[in-house]
Each structure stands twice: as structure tokens, then as C-alpha cells.
């Protein structure tokens, strides 16, 4: 149980799903995450669980809806174009308050884009994506270990809040092999008396819906959801800090770019530049408060992302003009080297603070 295994991120995630008691997985092939469906197609039947290749991502997400509505632990995964196709279903799932786990192994876009890794789905993941007022809890793994760990955490948070949880990974974390350890896990006891399991004479009928045709009722539901999202913002912010205690400058990066920044930070520190790293682990809820605190300590913040500058908007919101917030990123599946990042940071430091 506690032994280390060498696994691909996607496979570690699939194995974790089985260990987390995932009752059903529905998916549609898309690179770079087809291994999840393949792994589960092989392994789930051995555990008497349901695994199905659906006719599309539209079907997958609605199968997840049905299974989650019946009270089961249900999950799907895909990559960017497929996640776009699921947005209507995700909105319905959030509206109907169904717990489920979704995984986006982000590839670069827009459109069909490329199968190479990217972080261009930050806006889609954290700012809605589908229609209407809803939020998902978004977890951003930066290692194969976290790909596995966040499956357990994701299912638990989904059940706790009756809300979809998204693991926002990327093609590199999904495809790379690292050692991973599956920790013992006990599934929390969750009341699912709301599920549609068939109405016995002893209770009223259960129905799963996101329809509230009267404005008063709709707003009431919106307020209920918003109270839940507020509780999530208050209780579920997760982040990792490295070298921040003495930092003059700060990198903010998540997932794969945080890995690259960690190396960049080491190089910079070697050169005597005191840079720290804040790695948001939850992208929603976002660690605004901690960033705000750090903004009164550091002189410059650099958001590093594999997109054209999406998360940097949240960094600016948190920092609120206290110190300069800059952005550096590559796109299209291209990776910045740690040296490039350091060079960029040095230039900016020079520009903002040299004289």
C-alpha cells in the first residue's frame, strides 16, 4: 500500500480513482489523456465498477450527471476541446448540486490547437466556463503524486459541498513518469438521501434539477449556491510556498509552470536574487489573501504561465497595485526554460528597481 510505484500521471490518477471508490467512469478518447480511459477499461471491471466509452464528451458528462444524481461516485476526464464540449453539462451539474470529479489534462489551444501541454484553460476552469452563476473547486497538481492525491481530495470535496470538482492538469504532468505512493484512504460517510434511488413509501420523491422557473425561486437557489461558494472560499484555499520568508521578489505559478519556476528560483538564488515561489494548489478558491500579504513584503511579482496571461489577472486583483505585477509565458506547447525565466525576472527587476 505504502510502497512507491513508478507511474504516468494519467495512470496514477486512474489508479487513485479505483482506490477512492469511484463507482463509475465515463469518457471519450482524446490526447493527452486517453490512458485514463484505457487504464480504467482494463481495471474497473475487476473491481465490479462501471467504465464506459461514451459516444462523445457531451454524453460522458451527462452519464456522470445520471450516476452522480443516483448517489454514486462518478468521474470523467478529457482534454481541452472535450472539456469545452462538456460545459453545458457541468453547468447543469453545478446547478443541480451533484458531486462529481472532472479532470482536464490541458493541451494548448484555441480550437483543435496542439496535443502539447498548455495552461490556456485557466479562465474556463476558474471563471465559469459554462453558463450561469456557478463555480467549481479547481485543483492544480504539479506532480504525479498530486495527480493521485487530488483524486481522493477531489471526490471528498465534491461530496462535502455537493459540487463538481475539477482537477486541472496538463499534458506534461499527465504523461510524465514519477514515483507515486498511494496512501491508505477511508471514504468519509456522506449523506446522500437526496439521490434518486427509487422512492420508497417512507419519503417524498427526490428529484434532481437545475430548473427554477420563478425568478424568486431562482434567486433563492442562486443565493444558496453563493453561500456554498463563500464557504468554499473561506475553507478550501490551498497553496504551497517556497522560500517566501526572506523573498524580495515572488514567482506565482501553478502546475507545470510551478515546477519550472522552482528550478528558476534556485538559479536566481544562486545569483543572489532572493526570489520565492507561491504555488496556488486551488485555483478556485484562489489564494488572494496570502498574495495580498506577500505583496507588502516583496518588490515585484512575476506570474509565469503556459498561456498568454490568464492567472495574472487574479494576481493583480490580489495585489491591488501595491507592487508591480508582471507576466511571462510561452504558448502553443512551448516551454520556457528556467534560464529564460530568470533572465526575464532580472530584466524586470532592472526595469522597476535599478534606479
Amino acid at each position: 500500500m505504502t510502497a512507491f510505484k513508478l507511474m504516468k500521471g494519467n495512470e496514477a490518477m486512474a489508479e487513485a480513482a479505483i482506490l477512492a471508490g469511484c463507482d463509475a467512469y465515463f469518457g471519450y478518447p482524446i490526447t493527452p489523456q486517453s490512458e485514463v480511459l484505457e487504464y480504467l477499461a482494463r481495471e474497473m471491471p475487476k473491481h465490479n465498477r462501471i467504465v464506459m466509452q461514451a459516444e462523445s464528451e457531451v454524453a460522458s458528462i451527462n452519464m456522470v450527471y445520471g450516476a452522480a444524481g443516483a448517489g454514486f461516485r462518478a468521474m470523467t476526464s478529457s482534454s481541452s476541446p472535450g472539456i469545452s464540449l462538456m460545459q453545458e453539462g457541468i453547468s447543469y451539474i453545478a446547478g443541480a448540486e451533484l458531486p462529481c470529479l472532472l479532470v482536464n489534462v490541458n493541451r494548448a489551444g484555441p480550437g483543435l490547437g496542439t496535443i502539447q501541454p498548455g495552461q490556456g484553460d485557466y479562465f474556463q476552469s476558474t471563471k465559469g466556463g459554462g453558463h450561469g452563476d456557478y463555480r467549481m473547486i479547481v485543483l492544480a497538481p504539479a506532480s504525479v503524486q498530486e495527480m493521485a492525491d487530488f483524486v481522493f481530495l477531489g471526490f471528498d470535496l465534491a461530496d462535502k459541498y455537493r459540487n463538481p470538482v475539477l482537477i486541472l492538469s496538463d499534458g506534461a504532468i499527465g504523461q510524465m513518469m514519477e514515483k507515486v505512493q498511494f496512501k491508505p484512504y477511508t471514504r468519509p460517510v456522506i449523506d446522500k438521501s437526496w439521490a434518486t434511488t427509487g422512492k420508497p413509501g417512507t419519503r417524498n420523491r427526490n428529484y434532481i434539477t437545475s430548473l427554477f422557473i420563478q425568478p424568486e425561486k431562482m434567486e433563492e437557489h442562486n443565493l444558496k449556491l453563493e453561500a456554498k461558494f463563500r464557504a468554499i472560499r473561506e475553507n478550501e484555499v490551498r497553496f504551497e510556498e517556497i522560500n517566501t520568508s526572506d523573498a524580495d521578489y515572488l514567482f506565482v505559478a501553478y502546475g507545470l509552470s510551478a515546477r519550472i519556476c522552482q528550478k528558476a528560483m534556485d538559479i536566481a538564488r544562486h545569483k543572489g536574487i532572493k526570489i520565492g515561489l507561491l504555488r496556488p494548489v486551488t485555483l478556485y478558491p484562489y489564494p488572494y489573501h496570502r498574495l495580498e500579504e506577500l505583496a507588502s513584503q516583496v518588490k515585484l511579482i512575476l506570474s509565469v504561465e503556459l498561456n498568454s496571461g490568464q492567472m495574472v489577472e487574479d494576481v493583480r486583483l490580489a495585489v491591488n497595485g501595491k507592487v508591480p505585477v508582471e507576466f511571462y509565458g510561452r504558448m502553443g506547447g512551448m516551454m520556457p526554460t528556467p534560464e529564460e525565466i530568470v533572465h526575464h525576472a532580472e530584466t524586470l527587476i532592472q526595469y522597476h528597481h535599478a534606479n
Partner: protein, 281 residues
């Protein structure tokens, strides 16, 4: 002067001492929630809701039945059916039903879908569910228009039929011919029982009820999908009285959508069902 009706009522009252002496010849099923429905007067949706709930009551499967409501006029089906239900996104009922049924194979699962929902936006989910032989019942309410969004053309709109989006009548050369869903789906090996019925006369209602009962029973067999298409109506958007709408079904709708069984199970397939041989509907 007493009206004829009053005379009749007085006579009946005079002949019965107490209410208990009335002979109860019909009652609404207890599985139907006792509220007034939002449907337009004469709309077939309310009648078919009742038939489904009668079938559920007669089979004693209320505890084991889960319905899936569509997006369409029947979006509020769960307000009327006293069973556990899920409301699906437009067209996705069969995918939702798949998710429910695969996890709970011993429950009875049905979808209730209009022609826009099933035959336009949701035809992929429907076809694939049937092709997989999902062991569910699909109740397909074909009223040849989009009722809920007020009368636009549907994939099942008749050639030449006027709708708000085919104001000069459906031009088949532009939009193609109406899709005969049942004939199409009956070709799939996963389809176990496919029938097309109507509810515009007492006999038609009886046959539809029988078809629904058969379809529910077949779910015990785990042998594939049952598709019960019902020619509904939409007096409001057809711009007809309910009586005219019933006539329109007999005179026009069934030319394109002939009634009757399209695929029936082989006798050997249903012999394990206790006491129920398939009755031709």
C-alpha cells in the same frame, strides 16, 4: 327550468343513499401527484403522464422506478409523477438514463422526451443508447413541433406543415423529410421493442397503455431498449382545438407516422416473463 344535467344529477343522487354506494369505475393513479398540470387544455402530455404512472402503479414498481425528464413542455414531469426523477439537459436524457441504469441495473429507468429533444439535439445520445441496448424505456412524444419554444419546426414536422420557422410549410427539398425515429431505431440490434402509438381516441389510449406496460415489463429481461413513440399533439401551436388536433392526427400525422408495432420481441425472448405474453397492441 332545470337543465338536463341537473335532472340527471338529481336522479343519481336520489338513487344513492350515501356516497359509499357509488360504484367507483375510475380513479387517478396514486402515483400521479394530485396537482393541476401546466399543460395547455387538450395536450397529450398530461394524458401520457397519467398512463405512465398507471403502468408504474399497476406493476407496483414506484419504489424501483426512476424517470428522466427532458427539456421541452414536459420539463416539469417531476412535478406530476410521484417517483424519483432527474431533469436532463436538452437532448441528453438517454445519456443521463444510461448513467442511472448502469449503476442500478435492477431499477426501472425511463426517459420521457419530445421530438426536438430526442430527434434533433439528442439524436446521437438516443441512437447510441439504443445501439448499446441500454435496458431502459424511452417514451418519445412526437407532436411534430417544438411546443415549449412556441411552435418551431421539428425534425418530425410533416412536409408542407406550417410552423413559425417554416411559415410557408416545411420544404422537404430544403430541410429534408421528417425523421421516422422508430423505423430508424428499430434497425439497431439493441432495440428490443419499438412501437408507435397515439392517444387521440379511447382505443388508441388503451393500446398505448398496453405498450407502456409491455415495455416496462420487458425491462426485467435485460434484453435491450424499448422505444414507445406516441403521436402527441400541440393544439396551441398547431392552432387547432383539441378535437381538430385529434382529427389531424388521424388524417395527416399517421400518413407519415403509421401506428403499430415496428419491432416486437421474439416469443422465445419473453417466455420467462410470468403470465405476460406480449399482447399485440
Amino acid at each position: 327550468m332545470q337543465t338536463e344535467e341537473q335532472v340527471l344529477t338529481d336522479k343519481i343522487t336520489a338513487s344513492c343513499q350515501t356516497e359509499d354506494e357509488y360504484e367507483l369505475v375510475y380513479h387517478k393513479p396514486a402515483t400521479l401527484v394530485d396537482v393541476s398540470m401546466h399543460y395547455c387544455p387538450g395536450c397529450a402530455h398530461s394524458l401520457v403522464h397519467k398512463l405512465i404512472m398507471e403502468a408504474v402503479e399497476e406493476m407496483g414498481i414506484q419504489e424501483r422506478t426512476i424517470g428522466v425528464a427532458p427539456v421541452g413542455c414536459s420539463v416539469f414531469a417531476y412535478d406530476y409523477m410521484d417517483i424519483d426523477m432527474q431533469e436532463a439537459a436538452h437532448g441528453r436524457a438517454c445519456a443521463v438514463a444510461t448513467g442511472i441504469k448502469r449503476l442500478m441495473p435492477d431499477k426501472y429507468v425511463f426517459t420521457y422526451q419530445g421530438d426536438g429533444d430526442l430527434a434533433a439535439i439528442g439524436i446521437a445520445e438516443t441512437l447510441h443508447a439504443i445501439n448499446r441496448g441500454e435496458n431502459i424505456l424511452i417514451v418519445f412524444m412526437n407532436n411534430a413541433v417544438y411546443g415549449m419554444t412556441s411552435g418551431q419546426m421539428a425534425p418530425t414536422t410533416l412536409p408542407g406543415m406550417h410552423t413559425t420557422t417554416s411559415p410557408d410549410g416545411r420544404d422537404v427539398s430544403f430541410y429534408g423529410a421528417p425523421i421516422k425515429v422508430s423505423e430508424l431505431m428499430a434497425n439497431l440490434p439493441g432495440a428490443f421493442y419499438v412501437t408507435r402509438q397515439a392517444v387521440n381516441s379511447a382505443n388508441a389510449v388503451r393500446r398505448t397503455k398496453k405498450a407502456l406496460l409491455n415495455a416496462f415489463k420487458y425491462q426485467q429481461l435485460h434484453k435491450g431498449t424499448c422505444l414507445v413513440e406516441i403521436i402527441g399533439n400541440c393544439p396551441s401551436n398547431w392552432k387547432m382545438t383539441p378535437v381538430e388536433a385529434s382529427k389531424f392526427i388521424d388524417e395527416e400525422m399517421i400518413k407519415t407516422f403509421p401506428l403499430g408495432d415496428i419491432k416486437v420481441p421474439a416469443a422465445g425472448d419473453i417466455k420467462t416473463l410470468q403470465s405476460n405474453t406480449h399482447e399485440q397492441s
